[in-house]
């Protein structure tokens, strides 16, 4: 069974502060993704990675950085958080060598005050 975990599950941050969202997967998947979910927009891709040490910009990367230090871990970093980044963030993993499915974590609810 695929397993993607995220921490923290809930986070309140102040405007201008630094926020780091963490994701861990035990599927040994090469690819990992960060999405944000907002009403009316569905899920939008922020950053993704093809493997340890690689990060790629998604469709809405502005204001976000990503880090993939290992196969298992993928972080999303907000250096200067803004209220517009209040959202629910989902991490996912996948491996096209083993199918096209992406497996999602439970999400992190971020509120920037």
């Amino acid at each position: 069974e695929a397993a993607v975990t995220q921490s923290p599950r809930n986070k309140v941050a102040v405007t201008g502060g630094k926020v780091t969202l963490s994701c861990n997967q035990t599927n040994n998947h090469n690819n990992m993704y960060w999405y944000r979910q907002d009403t009316g927009h569905g899920l939008r891709l922020i950053h993704y990675s093809y493997g340890a040490g690689s990060t790629e910009k998604g469709d809405i990367p502005d204001g976000y950085k990503a880090s993939r230090p290992s196969q298992e871990n993928f972080s999303l970093i907000l250096e200067l958080a803004t209220p517009s980044q209040t959202s629910v963030y989902f991490c996912a993993s996948g491996d096209t060598d083993r199918g096209l499915e992406q497996y999602f974590g439970p999400g992190t609810r971020l509120t920037v005050l």
């Binding site: 993607v4 690819n31 999405y35 009316g40 927009h41 569905g42 899920l43 939008r44 891709l45 993704y48 093809y50 998604g58 469709d59 989902f90 996912a92 996948g94 096209t96 096209l100 499915e101 992406q102 999602f104 974590g105 439970p106 999400g107």
Partner: protein, 112 residues
Amino acid sequence: QQQVRQSPQSLTVWEGETAILNCSYENSAFDYFPWYQQFPGEGPALLISILSVSNKKEDGRFTIFFNKREKKLSLHIADSQPGDSATYFCAARTGGNNKLTFGQGTVLSVIP
């Protein structure tokens, strides 16, 4: 711009009816279309998917109908159950990469 569009935004059906969720897209390069189901407080989970070389995919009560010429697809949920109440996302992938583009979702409510 929204490359994948879903309609309706919300849908209410009675238990036992067939729910029909619609999806359209703009990019002819999309070749894989998964539907994800999401319950409140959880992450999305793959429900059923179809490749653009097919026009129909069935899995139990769930069926995807795909029309490549019109760039439309639909998810039919037969014999809807209250447990099917969830948000459904249509997504699309461009052949050659692993990125998914999601629609805005349809909230389905099934009334007992």
